[in-house]
Amino acid sequence: MRASDPQAQDKIKMLKLDGITKRFGDLTAVNRLRIEVSAGEIIVLLGPTGAGKTTTLRIAAGLENPDEGKVILDGRDVTKLPPSYRDVAMIFEAHNLYPIYNVYDNIAFPLRAPGRKLPEKEIKERISKVATDLHISHLLDREMTTLSGGEIQRAALARTLVRTPRIYLMDEPLSNLDLKLREELRVEFRELHKRYGATMLYVTHDFVSAVSIGDRIGILDRGKLHQVGTPDELHQDPHTVTVAALMESPPMNLLPCQVAGGSMLVDQEAGIIFPLSQGQGAKVREKAGDGEIVLGVWPEDIRIGIPESERAFQGLIVGKEFQGANTLMNLSVGKSILKTLTDPDFPGGFGKLCRFYFPLEKVYLFHKKSGERIYF
């Protein structure tokens, strides 16, 4: 279920992280983070290594205590509760399955735990269902050590899904896999989610997984949550330069830029100049002050191979990466490299000049120092 679905708005908030701060010595790993996950929703926290993703997840699970802020689970403050009292299930990048048990006993493990102990008959029914859904029914008797990487990952997922906690917390569960397996599991994951309707907080550094799996994505960098929204929302209106740089692959092209007189000058040596209206110029100057600004343009908004008769900028082709359905072009422009996707049949090779264009309407501006978007 996508969050754009109006019904999702009425859903109860299953998990609320309310102003969470966590410090390790001098390092603020998570800084006043606020996020709400609705029942049945998957939110993905996307960010690079060191962004604070795993710490956030561990705080939600109760494996770390926050220095400030509250963890509210299904309306109840669980900040001080240990993990086993929270009714959450966490799956880690390095899944700790027990090598001495077979697949069945590994999956059954959380259901047999003291305090939760289900009758074996029910355990069997649940495992049989989850094993069918994950295509591992034929593996249940096998020892863990005889499984392939993908099979182990499925077993780990099964062990998590066999429970019905209030929320699943997922720490890069697919990142150790071969690219091919990841592709398959991503889609299966989404299908499974629709079937189980589970609530999930999922963290990853992989943009593609984030878009595939998440209803909404939260962009996290250096402990700060920059923006939360559907992939479309983040794409159309990135609030900060960090969001623009982490969303999409290739990400937004970012170029140094300054406003002088009535024009905007992009990357001094690039020869890209946009005349600004008086109102636009005033707005940009007012918000940017004397500070430098960064111009952003999405790869798909750059048209290339513009005929001589039309207005265009010029760049040098310094890379042409065939991707099958399209080709990624790298254009050297001034001191910057611009990336754009083209048809695989686009002519022109390494070292050739290329005429390209993007209109001012497609331009995003950001304050260089703060990273905040400047609307103009």
Binding site: K180, V187, E191, H235, S249, G319, E321, Q323, G324, F350
Partner: protein, 360 residues
């Protein structure tokens, strides 16, 4: 710089045939990528070329020189590994100049070389930094600079990007391509990541179970996979496949629920081949979706399972028998919608269900 020829190379570890008789012709200055899943023999092949493993049998030539018996140090190759293998407590400049100093290169010459390579890789600003303080992408650049600085005849790269963050990896991939093309150094690159292979290679050598499945330019392999594995492995997502039976006028899919009528041209071709048990293959971008039926052949009624919304395209999935198919389109496709998919007839590929080799 050198051409590299590998003749009937075999490397067995006990009963395990890591490399099982491969032939490679790598031209001078060519960028060749050995691509395949873990255990396919790609790294073992590279290590044999480097001289880090001795082949069980077979021959390796650099130009016309047989190098089988040469030590790695005497082959004039440079190798960059997945892990950086730098001296962490030394600064970048000392790491890069290390092989030159070891060779006894005069200091003036070393200075020139360092200036050249750091300009090429954009390392000027970090030359004095200790490598352990550098981010992964920069460390790998330093490793690359150290490899290239001694003008090797062959550059060998073993998954050099796989330990980097996604973002760095994209940047480094572009950088590597640019670098190789300005250096003109013969390059053999090992990876399991088909995106890297497609982006960088002049020629991809696709390996599986110690053998070469197919070799060719990225476009050839992508456009005309000779086996089910090649179609599946290359492309993201890969080619879609489903088992089916040719009934003379239509294809019947496993489970018997779905059937596909083909264009007259395809039907004639298939009947000529006289095969009944087939696998049909089609790439995601050659599948389109519409709510209403628009075509009379090569079309199927389906229900959309999932949709992944990327800004420039959407990937939607649907079930065909037991198979999950993925299509790539520009327009919005609603999750759960019923409608019709259309397979571009010219882009349909057929494979023998038994051998999994291409029919046409």
């Amino acid at each position: 710089m050198a051409a590299v020829h590998v003749k009937n190379l075999k490397k067995f570890y006990g009963s395990v045939k890591a490399v099982d008789g491969i032939d490679l012709e790598i031209e001078d200055q060519e960028f060749v990528v050995l691509l395949g899943p873990s255990g396919c023999g790609k790294t073992t092949t590279l290590r044999c070329i480097a001289g880090l493993e001795s082949p069980t049998s077979g021959e390796i030539f650099f130009d016309s020189r047989r190098v089988n018996t040469l030590e790695p140090a005497d082959r004039n190759i440079a190798m960059v590994f997945q892990f950086f293998a730098l001296y962490p407590h030394l600064n970048a400049i000392d790491n890069i100049s290390f092989p030159l100093r070891a060779q006894g290169t005069p200091p003036k010459k070393i200075g020139e070389k360092i200036a050249w390579i750091s300009g090429l890789l954009g390392l000027e600003a970090i030359l004095k930094r200790k490598v352990q303080t550098l981010p992964g992408g920069d460390q790998q650049k330093v490793a690359l600079a150290r490899a290239i600085v001694r003008d090797p005849v062959v550059l060998l790269l073993d998954e050099p990007l796989s330990q980097l963050d996604e973002k760095f990896r994209d940047e480094m991939r572009t950088e590597l391509g640019r670098l190789q093309r300005s250096l003109h150094v013969t390059t053999i690159y090992v990876t399991h990541d088909q995106r890297e292979a497609m982006a960088l290679a002049d020629k991809i050598v696709l390996m599986k179970d110690g053998k070469i499945l197919q070799a060719g330019s990225p476009r050839e392999i992508y456009g005309d996979p000779q086996s089910v594995f090649a179609g599946y492995f290359i492309g993201s997502p890969g080619m879609n496949f489903a088992k089916c039976v040719w009934e003379g006028d239509r294809l019947l899919f496993q489970g018997g629920i779905n059937e596909l009528k083909l264009s007259d041209k395809l039907a004639t071709l298939l009947s000529q081949k006289g095969k009944r048990n087939l696998l049909i293959g089609i790439r995601p971008e050659h599948i389109s979706f519409s709510a209403m039926q628009r075509e009379s052949v090569c079309t199927l009624k389906i229900k959309v399972a999932t949709v992944e919304k990327f800004s420039q395209f959407k990937i939607f999935s649907f079930h065909l028998g037991e198979q999950l198919f993925m299509g790539r389109v520009r327009e919005e496709v609603p999750e759960g919608a019923e409608g019709y998919v259309y397979f571009l007839p010219d882009r349909l590929r057929f494979f023998d269900a038994e051998t999994e080799r291409s029919i046409f």
